[in-house]
């Protein structure tokens, strides 16, 4: 395992061999035979699953959790828990009110599941250090958090009620900056801004509602000397130039993107890039051979700025 190799790759540098990150998420719970809902609410079990998974997959880095409900939960959104999946957000406090009208305030370390994550990181970090495996924090990006807060109406409001939309996304961005600070404090070497819904909008909407509202979080990460990353899901082709224009060191994409296109774009912008083992077609369904899929990704990715990971 090689933490520094991963950090170098995310920063767009040439590496000896390709670092590997399993975005294991609640798969860590499965590996230690625990249900996901229990795993995500017990720091000891979480730390145990995380370390076991890092060992089993010989990971160069691993996310503490891959759960985009953490920030929303700490702001009072209700969750539906699942035994084999991450929780889903079921209520939207800003569906009819601005964050201020809804009485929302920025999270503190004692709100929601933040104490649990601090404790899990405290237990897992020294063990991951011993494995030379980086700890990765993942904050919920501003547009995804705005969707959790306001519901699907936010995608209409970005055109029809711009002041309201800006207010919600601005608040979400400030929450993200606080969350980024928490992950830095936990000892994460890499902090990623994970904004899956930012691929589901037009490029001009990305520039108006994502780019300005990730700046604070990126500054927190970069100023702390940590490595910053931006994860986008789905067919993000239309917003990739804008993703590259962010001040993060790198970005990561999913299985729907063409790795040759992504590699060339990353090289042009001097960014690290991660992906894109086919999570669905290869790893879940086996419609493609995971081995051959991995070879294709590795061949396309090369060894400059590339992190091999599921997409």
């Amino acid at each position: 395992m090689a933490k520094q190799k991963l950090i170098d790759a995310v920063r767009g540098k040439r590496t000896e061999g390709v670092p590997w990150v399993p975005y294991a998420g609640v798969h860590c719970a499965f590996l230690i035979n625990e249900p996901a809902d229990k795993y995500l609410q017990d720091p000891k079990i979480l730390a145990k699953g995380l370390v076991e998974t890092a060992k089993r997959y010989k990971a160069d880095g691993i996310p503490l959790v891959f759960d985009l409900s953490v920030e929303a939960h700490s702001l009072g959104c209700e969750l539906k828990w699942w035994p084999d999946n991450v929780p889903s957000v079921t209520t939207h406090p800003c569906s009819g009110k601005t964050p201020e009208e809804a009485g929302l305030s920025l999270p503190t370390k004692d709100m929601g599941r933040w104490p649990l994550l601090f404790e899990a990181a405290r237990i897992a970090k020294p063990q991951l250090d011993e494995l030379d495996c980086a700890l990765i924090g993942g904050i919920c990006g501003p547009l995804t958090l705005a969707s959790h807060l306001a519901g699907v109406r936010i995608f209409t409001d970005v055109y029809r009620n711009r002041d309201f939309a800006h207010e919600v996304v601005d608040f979400a961005g400030r929450v993200g900056a606080v969350a980024a600070g928490f992950y830095v404090e936990m000892g994460c070497e890499i902090v990623a801004i994970i904004d899956p819904v930012s691929s589901q909008i037009k490029p001009e909407t990305f520039r108006e509602y994502v780019s300005p509202y990730v700046k604070d979080a990126i500054k927190v990460i970069n100023d702390a000397g940590c490595t910053s990353d931006f994860f986008v899901c789905g067919n993000a082709t239309k917003v990739m130039e804008d993703v590259c224009a962010l001040d993060t060191h790198g970005f990561a994409i999913d299985e729907q993107m063409n790795m040759n296109f992504i590699r060339d774009l990353a090289m042009k912008h001097g960014k690290g890039f991660g992906g894109n083992l086919k999570l669905t077609l290869a790893l879940s369904l086996g419609l493609l051979s995971p081995r051959e899929d991995a070879i294709v990704s590795l061949a396309a990715g090369g060894n400059i700025g590339f992190t091999f990971a599921p997409g």
Binding site: L68, K80, W82, D84, N85, V86, S88, T90, H92, S95, T144, S147, H148, G151, V152, R153, F155, T156, Y159, R160, P196, V197, S199, Q200, I201, K202, C233, G234, N235, A236, Q256, L279, T280, S284, L285, L287
Partner: protein, 128 residues
């Protein structure tokens, strides 16, 4: 039985993937009057049935919303009015006028969970 507009949402998994979740929510948060005119399901690519539906509808990307067999919203979460317009274009003649009257109504979150459950959201996303 009254005529309904068929909507299929092709997803990775509406629980695991936020983009898929909000694609589903865009349908489940349509107001009650629209809910009465539509029938919809989530098709997760993590199931054999989902893969079959993806192939049948000639899906290209996830998530996508398909209305009456047409891939209409591919990797773009629709605005309320866009959804109503897209449905109106493909609706049986008996529903067109009523849909037009609902164009300014906007999303309604009161029965969101109930509607998601009715559509099997998050319940048919297991491998197999």
């Amino acid at each position: 039985m009254a005529e309904k507009i068929r909507i299929d949402v092709l997803t990775l998994d509406s629980v695991q993937c936020a983009a898929c979740g909000y694609m589903m929510e865009s349908i489940a948060a349509l107001p009650d009057e629209v809910q009465e005119m539509i029938e919809y399901s989530e098709w997760s690519i993590k199931t054999k049935e989902g893969v079959g539906k993806f192939m049948e509808l000639k899906g290209k990307v996830l998530p996508s919303i398909c209305i009456e067999g047409d891939l209409v919203f591919e990797s773009i979460i629709p605005q309320y009015e866009e959804l109503i317009d897209a449905m109106k274009k493909r609706a049986p003649a008996s529903l067109v006028e009523s849909l037009a009257l609902l164009r300014d109504r906007g999303f309604d979150f009161d029965r969101l969970q109930e509607n998601l459950e009715k559509a099997g959201s998050g319940l048919k996303t297991k491998i197999g």
